[in-house]
Amino acid sequence: MSAETTSETAPEITSVTGWGRTAPSAARLVRPRTYAEAVAAVRDCGPRGGIPRGLGRAYGDAAQNAGGSVIDVTGLDRIHVVDAGAGVVLCDAGVSLHRLMQVLLPLGWFVPVTPGTRYVTVGGAIGADIHGKNHHVSGSFARHVLSFELLTADGTIHTVDQGTDLFDATTGGMGLTGVVLTARIRLQPVRTSLMSVDTERARDLDDLMARLTATDHRHRYSVAWIDLLARGAATGRAVLTRGEHATPAALPARARRDPLAFRPSRLPAAPPFVPGGLLTRTTVGLFNELWYRRAPRARSGELQSISAFFHPLDGVPHWNRVYGRDGFVQYQFVVGYGQEDTLRRIVQRLADRRCPSFLAVLKRFGDADPGWLSFPRPGWTLALDIPAGLPGLGAFLDELDEEVAAAGGRVSLAKDSRLRPELLGAMYPRLDDFRALRAELDPRGVFVSDLARRLNFQESP
């Protein structure tokens, strides 16, 4: 079961998983509350090393370290300086994006990049170099990080500026270069806390791709939900959602009194035990049908809260439990522009196979980010959640990996829990640079994770 954050100071052996709740492994969980304790945690990692962990939203095994230490950084959670004039925040790595939004929105600032959940830490956002619905405009998280402090394997703390090798190795480096302690982040100005949202339906994949290609650049935020259970002529039918931060003029009179209010609502959590097999083709197919039909053919200017637009699933704590004890895998890949045929083929294969996925999201990435192991690159990215208990799923996803790699694409490491190690180098051409830097920075391999072991990160070039 996933490790819930505890406040005890004594290290304990805990079974740890990622958000997908697959492949548990046991580690010593330490939760430093000061930088000195963080330094001590790194120095005392033991023979099987350590890995930083935030709120555990990485789907796979990136923040697990079997037999070693897992350094929970959520105890380092101070917001040090908010420069409300320039729009820059200096905060600890354990601060969540949720907390940043609470503090910054009333001041007229928003986090520059947010993924589908607010419950990720700043450290995790840097380690996974997360992207959001605005990647085509704003790039990934690291693009907005001016500098950070990094605690490296020798127990020293470095200030790392944008544009340096260590910066580019750490952003997207999955915590394997060290523990980020603080970061300075440039913020996005907003005038209201509401989103102005346009919704439209696309009848099939080609229609969807044409709409996205033609109009994506006009929207700051853009994403498409695809019904992967639709078949035949409807294969790839989708609901497009685009949004901007609403202007004060667009707000109804009542909301204008407090235009920057941030009040996300939360429903009760999913129960700790949920029987498996809830998400079948039938139930998911039904959901997808309703979801598609419910969406308006075209609607513009609808006002939505930030949580409704960006983080609908955050409203249900522990929603990952609905997949039962088998857990689930998220499969996210990107293929470059010009490789639309690969995307079409994969969507076709997913539709043919009838994978019960109710969360399948397509979007267009903009310019690549400098992080050596950063996931985004210009092209199409598709992400989907699939119950891990589906028979034959492993072999099927291996086949998709082959197609993705052959097209020069890659899968996301923050989501991964099953990639074949042989494909890592093909998908991430700067892997050898990363290994070389790590060999120099951390010759004893203090920073290591289940992901790093599984994908042979330590193997020399």
Binding site: T22, A26, G327, G394, R418, R420, P421
Partner: protein
Amino acid sequence: MKDAFGLPQSLLVLGGTSEIALATARRLIARRTRTVWLAGRPSPALESAAAQLRTLGADVHTVAFDALDPGSHEAVLGKVFAEGDVDLVLLAFGVLGDQANDERDPSAAVRVAQTNYTGAVSAGLVAARGLQTQGHGSLVVLSSVAGERARRSNFIYGSSKAGLDAFAQGLGDALHGTGVHVMVVRPGFVRTRMTEGREEAPLATTPEAVATAVELGLRRRSGTVWVPGVLRLVMAAVRHTPRALLRRLPV
């Protein structure tokens, strides 16, 4: 490391010439397994098993291992664990013995018990400690339906498997929460070298079917796996059959 589907990248087989183990190894190599350690008594059969797995693309090593020499287990298995993580240990050694002969020759019966039970207790504990230190991994123990209820026709073998089965279950409970998963596999009659020439029991199965069940069990992180699955029901009935009746049944 195991992946999200429980598939191991490295495998240690205790009883490296076991047909069930080799069928399982072949299946796992076809998926994720790249490193295999075949532990067994040095023999041409062990080497040829290794050679065969190498042709499938795995990096295969053989290790001299004797179930009947528990004193050596720590050193032998320790060396394997020192080479790198072992994601799956498959405890597959065992002998069937010759019931009629073993009843007459207690020393032969003891050899069956020592191999199947004592040797497995020793090797199982050593492997479990290695896995626990790693904080992850699976120990798959090949038990047998014969251990579920002692029967006239093979109670010496059956009792040794009963001991092994109870040991493995307890070990699984002891390791709960340590990241280590213990899975007991209870096949019925498996058509192998070991059972050649014997009269087949109903619901006879193959090493390949056992391998398939092992892969499924790993994905589900099962505690117990029956092969074929229907044996779970059959044996539940057999377990509750009165002795006086069972004695007369042709099983």
